[in-house]
Structure formats: structure tokens, C-alpha cells
């Protein structure tokens, strides 16, 4: 019997090492592009060690038993009677208890590492909406840059202060690892320190309806100089746009993610396209037709369910709290789309 224990012991060790090497070299995680990713991958490595060892600890003796202790042909007797071993049972209760508590402790330390706050962090306000993202940068002279792309400088902690306009969304850039839900009615926050320049994507991780799969927007990590250059241009655009109705309308459309449903180039979408909208004849779901004018668009924004274009019955557009002036700006912008 001693021989069996020795062989299985060696098998467990060999198998653990092989599985660990295999998993470690398989490149299972995406690129590490943030300081938090480094901490999280450290924890992942610990878990891979535990998984490799425990898998081998059970499967090696199980497989060994299946081969060595299989029933021989013609043998109809029972095996040797062995009911249990209290010392062994106590051991495999107490030892794992200490191990899991140690892992929980390390997990807590690891959490603290990823939460470390930099008081100088750059604050970006994030809004999630069905099905787009908007990013609002700190105001300069009363003008705010709003974009549907997240531009951040490398090696500087950013503090995302996030909320949602409609349902729950979740901010996740796999290369940054960390993830946080955006909940209507409250502000949640997430700290990320990007460490690797590149183009990534934020992908909504919490099921949020029809186009959940496509709720992705670019995240661009660049050097401080490139970021400053981008910001200067964006700021200038924002200042210019705020002086014309079309420009203000376009900014409102960007800030509220209208384009997630209404294409501006005639492509089909969740809602009717805005390309050539004003003056177009639309068929409604009750069979009547309507020629789209400013008043119709105004009504459709204020009361989206009042008239529904045929084919869009199952697409409930939410109401937005736009003022009449804002709607006029949006209409001015829509007029330019033709």
C-alpha cells in the first residue's frame, strides 16, 4: 500500500507543475494596461497555483484508483472494509480552512491595492445610456468637453464618477481588468491608472437590453502631450459649437447617445434614421401616414409613444427632460442631415 501512496504523491506533484506551467504560458489574460491589472494578475496567479494543485490532488488519485483498483475479471468479492478515519477527516477540514482564510486575507489586501486613491486623480464623469457612453471632462472657463470616446493620459490615475440615465450598465475595459456598474440614481466610482499607451474599448458588461452587445466605445490611452493636444482641439470645437443651434444640437445628441438608435447616415437602426428625416413621409403603425416636420419631431421627443412609425412597435424610446430650446437645437441639427 505504501508504494501506491508514493506513486500518487509523485503524480500529484508532477501533474500540478505541468498544469501550472500550461496555464501560465497559455496567455489567458489580456494585455496588462493598468496598474490595477498588475495587482489583479498577481492574485490570478495565486489562484492558478491553487487550482493546479487541488485539481491534481483529486484527479491524480482518482485516475490512479480507476486503473490500479479496478475490478479484475471474475472477481465477485467486495473490497476491504474501511469506514473512515477521523484524524484524516479533521485534517482535511482544518487545513483547507486555514488555506481559504489565508486566501481571503490576501484577497482583501489585493482589493486594497487596486483601490489605492491618488488625490491628484483626473475626474471624468461617465454616463451610460441605452446603448452608448458619454464622457464629460472637467470644465474649462465654463465650457465642458463631452465626448463618446474616453481619452486619458498614460500613468495618471483617473477617477471615473459614473451614473446611468436609464438601466444598469457596467464599465469594463478588459485590459484594465476592473469593472463597475452604473446605477440610475446614484454615482458609483472607479479608479484606473492606465500604464500602457494604446487603443482599447469600453464594453458594457451588464445586460442592458436590445443592443447591449454593441454598447462599445473607444478608450484611447496616449502620452500627456497627445492627450493635451486632443483636449485643446475638443475644447475649441466645444466653444465653437456652443455658438450655433446646430452645434448645440449636435452636442446634445452626443451627450445623450441618440445615435445609438437613430443613425445619421440612413443605415437601419433601433429607431428610424435621421438622415433626410425632415420632409420625409413616414407610415405609422395604425396605417396612416405623416410628413415629418419640426412639430412632429418635437412631439416625438416629448412623447415618444404618441405616434409610432410602422415596424418600431416593440422599441420603447424613453423620454428625456429636454427643454423646448434644446429640442429646437436638436431639430436644427437634424435639418443638417441630408
Amino acid at each position: 500500500m505504501r508504494r501506491h501512496y508514493v506513486i500518487v504523491g509523485i503524480l500529484v506533484i508532477v501533474m500540478s507543475v505541468l498544469i501550472y506551467i500550461g496555464l501560465d504560458s497559455a496567455g489567458l489574460m489580456p494585455v496588462e494596461a493598468s496598474a490595477q491589472a498588475v495587482d489583479i494578475d498577481w492574485m490570478w496567479n495565486l489562484e492558478v497555483i491553487a487550482m493546479s494543485f487541488l485539481f491534481s490532488l483529486i484527479v491524480a488519485p482518482l485516475a490512479y484508483s480507476l486503473i490500479v483498483f479496478r475490478r479484475r475479471k471474475g472477481d465477485t468479492t467486495d473490497a476491504e472494509h474501511m469506514e473512515g478515519n477521523t484524524r484524516l477527516e479533521v485534517a482535511w477540514t482544518i487545513v483547507p480552512l486555514f488555506i481559504v482564510m489565508a486566501y481571503a486575507y490576501l484577497g482583501a489586501i489585493n482589493l486594497a491595492a487596486t483601490q489605492r486613491a491618488d488625490p491628484e486623480a483626473m475626474v471624468v464623469r461617465v454616463t451610460g445610456l441605452q446603448w452608448s457612453w458619454t464622457f464629460e471632462y472637467p470644465a474649462v472657463n465654463g465650457v465642458t468637453v463631452v465626448s463618446d470616446e474616453l481619452h486619458v493620459p498614460v500613468n495618471k490615475q483617473i477617477l471615473l464618477r459614473m451614473t446611468s440615465n436609464d438601466v444598469i450598465h457596467s464599465f469594463w475595459v478588459p485590459e484594465f481588468r476592473v469593472k463597475q456598474d452604473l446605477v440610475p440614481g446614484r454615482i458609483t466610482q472607479l479608479r484606473i491608472t492606465p500604464t500602457l499607451e494604446g487603443n482599447y474599448k469600453v464594453r458594457c458588461a451588464e445586460l442592458c437590453g436590445t443592443s447591449h452587445a454593441f454598447m462599445e466605445k473607444p478608450v484611447i490611452v496616449s502620452s500627456q502631450e497627445e492627450y493635451d493636444a486632443w483636449f485643446a482641439v475638443a475644447l475649441e470645437d466645444a466653444v465653437t459649437a456652443s455658438q450655433t443651434p446646430e452645434g448645440r444640437g449636435q452636442a446634445l445628441v452626443a451627450a445623450n447617445g441618440c445615435a445609438a438608435c437613430h443613425s445619421i447616415n440612413g443605415a437601419p437602426g433601433i429607431g428610424p434614421t435621421w438622415f433626410g428625416l425632415i420632409g420625409r413621409t413616414e407610415e405609422l403603425n395604425d396605417g396612416s401616414t405623416v410628413v415629418v416636420d419640426e412639430a412632429y419631431v418635437h412631439e416625438s421627443i416629448k412623447a415618444p409613444q404618441a405616434k409610432i412609425v410602422a415596424g418600431f412597435e416593440n422599441q420603447l424610446m424613453p423620454t428625456y427632460g429636454f427643454t423646448d430650446e434644446e429640442i429646437a437645437d436638436i431639430v436644427a441639427y437634424i435639418k443638417t442631415l441630408r
Binding site: 489567458l28 489574460m29 489583479i40 492574485m43 489562484e47 491553487a50 487550482m51 485539481f55 483529486i58 488519485p61 482518482l62 484508483s65 480507476l66 483498483f69 475490478r71 479484475r72 467486495d78 473490497a79 476491504e80 472494509h81 474501511m82 469506514e83 473512515g84 484524516l88 477527516e89 482535511w92 477540514t93 481559504v100 482564510m101 486566501y103 481571503a104 490576501l106 484577497g107 482583501a108 489585493n110 482589493l111 438601466v167 444598469i168 457596467s170 478588459p174 481588468r177 469593472k179 463597475q180 446605477v183 440610475p184 440614481g185 446614484r186 464594453r203 458588461a205 445586460l207 437590453g209 436590445t210 447591449h212 462599445e216 437601419p268 433601433i270 396605417g287 412597435e313 416593440n314 420603447l316
Partner: protein, 698 residues
Amino acid sequence: MRNTNPVWKGLLLLLVAGAIGYGIGLVLDLLVSGAINTSGPVGAAFAILFAVTAFFFGVYGYRGITRGLVYQVVGTLVGALLITGIRALMGLDTIFGVYLFSEPAWVVGGVVGVVSFLFGVGVVHDWVQWSRGIDTPEHHTDEPGWEKYFGVSLDHKVIGIQYTITALVLIAIGGTFAMIFRTELAASQLQFLTTELRLFNQTGPQIYNTLMSLHGIIMIISILLGISGIMNYAVPFLVGAQDMAFPRLNAFAYWVSVPASVLMLLSLVLGGFDTGWTGYPPLSARAPVGMQMFFLGVFTAGWSSILGSLNVIATVVRLRAKGMSAMRLPILVWASVATSIIALTATQLIGLSFQLVMFQRLFGMPFFDAARGGNPVLFQHLFWFYSHPAVYVFVLPGLGVISELLPVFVRKPLFGYRWVAMSSLGIALVGFTVWAHHMFTSGMNEYLRVPFMYSTLLVAVPTGVKFFSWVATLWGGKIETPTPMLFVLGAIIVFLMGGLTGPPNAAIALDLHLHDTYWVVGHFHDTIFGGFVFPFFAAIYYWFPKATGRRMNEFWGKVHFWMMTPSFFVLTLGMMVIGLRGMRRRIVDYDPALGFDFIQLLMTIGGYLIALSVLIFIINLVHSIKHGEKAEGNLWNSRSPEWQVPSPMPVHNYDVPFEVVGEPYDYGLKDSKYVEFSPNGQKHIEFTKEPEVQPHRH
């Protein structure tokens, strides 16, 4: 028609009635909305209701389940029309809705339909009679042959098989849904679930959301019914009882799950729902009427779980054979009790959380509406307080099956019986304290996440005890590997993979990466296949001869195992790999730039092979009922009491009661016995001498 096979007759009627129902739906749609919508929901809703009902009519005639379904259809229409009438009298603008009836009308119709079903099928008949002061016979005589399975029976073995068959039907439906979207996911970009598609008023991505959501909940209900099948069938004869403690309640618990399943299917065509089975508001507060049918279906199925587990506990506490002390209970009974404790006390919370959203939608009560002072995160706490322990409900009976069958095929006692028994209770109790580990990214208090990490990791300890004990049981045995044992071994390895991929999710910071990805999808498919699917198949292969007197074909059983197991590994390992690399859950399409196409294709092939292997299993099962090799004796050479009497078992299990005289799993101990049959073995109430106490007969 006399000599026609009733199944063919049923299928023929299914097609005819489906077509008629579709026609009626289109006409109603035309009357109300003024336009014919051939891919619309109303025609489909009537087609489904008519077709299912007609199928059972063809197979079984107008009684039992058929009458229940007819009552449900009529009840649904009556309830809906009542509300529609009231709305008309109140002079409301919207008397009808997009789905013919308005949402309140559908909900009330759904409730009335469920109650009507229960009256129609006859499961409340005795209670109604008693309430009117009329006595009914203590025992009902079942029809001979297969027909008893289509009507109300009070026999726990019949009900156990009814549960099992219903579970298999739901597994087939839920599996088919999964195959549809797995096919779509085989390559990036939208293949056939495109945005131009219109089916039941839903676009391709919406159909995906509905099918994905229904796959989840239908599989969950099939699991709940599957474990009820195992427990109902086995627990009474394992403890030496003649039946469950409350046979009428037992039948009620089964039958209430049937109208619940119909409601689930209706949700598919009434606009579907796009929330997943978790139904988080605010999304679920905005979804189409199908959402309400889903809520109502889960609410109704919950009764089945609560009442069924009450019955299991009462049976084990009150109806054990003489000498069956706590530490001589078969290990599956311990697992069943542990599961039943959770199901009895936690199921209410999912019902409550869904009910609150129903009320938010129906009456405008803003429980989870942040704009009006509600709290969306509160829902998640209520929901997970059941839905995490629920996964232990799913797996504990399966782990019990593993522990129960292992000694039989190893010919050695279960190693550390007491520890294995107590570990089930340990998992059940610790399981109540871990729910918020599903909410690490939810925006709940950041510091409160830490205690939930500790409690979650604690679950690993009793689970580890089970694994170590199983390996120690195998060690030094004389292992045989017929089909049930293959599935037991498969279960151990697959559940091990599920178990080991759990702790990384508990480490909070790491979970911030893993949460809501395919890693988690792979993890829980491993736990559920290892903890339920494999043991469920093992139990069916193992007890099939007990139920029928014949055994299932060994060759095809082994084909089933060897086809399913490797395919399953490809599927779930693929899920975990792409999950780590950035594949989110519940998406109809993924970014081609991520480079997942090849792995997704492999996973889809794996999925098809699993489906094929289950099809082989079902054919084997049906074929073996009549044509299997005869096996009326102690086929597995087990010590358990049910195998000491011929198969199939008589109606009240043991003609001569037994007394427990030894340990259940003392294989290899010379001249030892677990049970001894003797007339004085019976401790509990004797049915024939004195009727059971019924306080309602005044």
C-alpha cells in the same frame, strides 16, 4: 384510429390545432389592430396553447392534463376578458395592448389560468370535496400502464417519474433554445438573428435576449423538477415509507409546475423579455409583457419547490423505518433534507423580489425606481438571497447521488459517512451567508464586500470534505464502471472543475475582471453539469430498472457518456478562456477583433455533440421501457432496501416492512446487513388499519 399509436395521433392533432390556433390569433389581431401580422405574437400565442393542448388530447383524451390545459386556456381568456371589460367600463384609453390584451389583463388572465389548470387537472378535487363535507377514498387507484402518468396520481413513484419526464422535456426545450443562439455565436457578426428579422414582434438581437433568458430559467426549473424527481422517487423507499407524508400536497406540488411551464413558453411570444433570468430592474420594469409571464411563471413554480421540500422534510422526520437513526440514513436522504431546508426557507425571496417588480409595473409602486425614491440595488439583494442558495438546492441532491452510488460500484463503505452527511448541512447553512458575492460590482457598500469574500471561500471547506471522502472511497476499492458509475465519475471531475473555478470569483478584485464574463458562464455550467446533470443521468441509469423491471442499453449509455463528456469540456473550457480574454456574458455578437471566432466554432460543435448525446439518451430511455433487457432483481448488488425487493416495486413499496439492523454502506463486512424484512419492522402509521388523521372532516 383505434390501432394508431397515440403519440402519432397527438402529433397530428398538434399540427392541426396549431394551425387553427394561429388562424384564430390572426383574426383576433386583425379585429383589434386592423392589420394582419403573420410573424406577430397573438397568432403564435394561440398556436402554442392550442397545439400543446391538442397533443395531450390526442395522446390521452379529455381528462387529466388535457382537461387542465383546456381549463388553463379558458381561464386565461376569462381572466383577461374580465379585466378588459372592466377597463372598457372605466373608459380607459388603452383597453387593448400591443399583444391583444393589455398588460394587467394578461397578468390576471395568467393567474386565473393557473388556478383553473389546478381545478381542471383534478389535483384539488379531494380538498374541494372535503370542504363541502364529502368524504373521498383514502387511496386512489391509478390506471394501469403509461396512462397514469398523464393524470393526477398520489403515488410518490408515479409523481417522481412525472417530475423526471417533465424535467427532461424542459431540458430538451431549454437545450434547443441554447442551440439556436450557440449557432448564432459560432462566428462573429450577426448571422441569422439580424436586426431586420421580425419574429413575435422581436428583432434578431431581441430574440437572442429572450432565448438566452428563457434558456436560463427553463433549465433552472427543469433542475428543480429533476431534483424533485429524484427525491420524490427515492426518498420514501429509501427511508422505508409507503409514500410521502402528504400525498395530495405532493401531487399538487408537481402539477403546479405544469401551468408554470406554459406561462414561461407564453413569455417567448408575448414580446419576450431581455433581462436574463435575473430580471434586474430598471430593465425588467421596461421589458414587454413577456416579462410578466416570466415573473408569474417563476412565482408559480416556486410553490412547487416550497411545498415539495416541506413534504420531503416531513417524510424523513416522521416516516422512517424502525431503527433508522440519523446516522443510518442513506446519504442521499441527508442531501435531500439539506436541499429541502434551503428550498423551504429561501424560495420566498425570489417570489417576493419578482412580485415587487410586477407591482411596480402594474400599480406604479416605485420599489426600484430611483427617480421616485426606489433602490435598484435592493432588488439584487432580495433576488440573490434565494438565487445563490438555489445553486446549492440544484447540486446537493446530485452530490448525494454521487455519495449514494459510489460505494455500490466501489464495493467499499462510503469513507467518512458522518462527515459527508454533515458537509451537506454545512454547505446549506454557509450558503445562506454568501449572496452578495454576485454583487461585487453592483455599487453596494465597498467594505461590505469583504465579509462576503470570507463567507464565500468558507463554502470550499465542506465541499472539499466531500471530494476528499469520495477519493478515499475509491482508494483501495474494487471499482466497476457500468454506465451509472461512469456518470458518477464524470460528475466528480466536472464538479471539481466547477468548484475550483469558484474561489477566483470570490477574490473581490479579481472578480472585478471576471464578473459578467464567459468565465463565470463556464464556471457555473461546470457546477451545474457536475452537480446536477451528470448525477441526474447516473440516477436515471441506476434506478431505471427499479421503475420498469428492465435496464437501459449499456452500449448506448456508454456512447452517451463518451460523447457528452469531452464535448462538454471543450464547451466550458472554451467559455472560460474567452471569458478571461474579454468575452462578456449575454451578448448576441462579439467584436471580431477579439479573435474568438475559432474557439466559438469549437464550442458550438461541442454543443451540438452534447445535444446529440442527449438525443441518444432519450431514444435509449424510450426504447428500453419496452425492449430493454429484463432486470428484476438486485441488478447492482446493492445493500439498499429498494433493491432487496423485485422490480418494479409494488404501489406501497414494501409488502413486508423492514427494520434497519446495520450500517447502510458496510460493503466488505462479512455477514452484515443494512435492513431485515419483518412484519414488526414498521414504526409509522399503518394505512390499512386506521385512516390517517384528517382534521378537516368535521
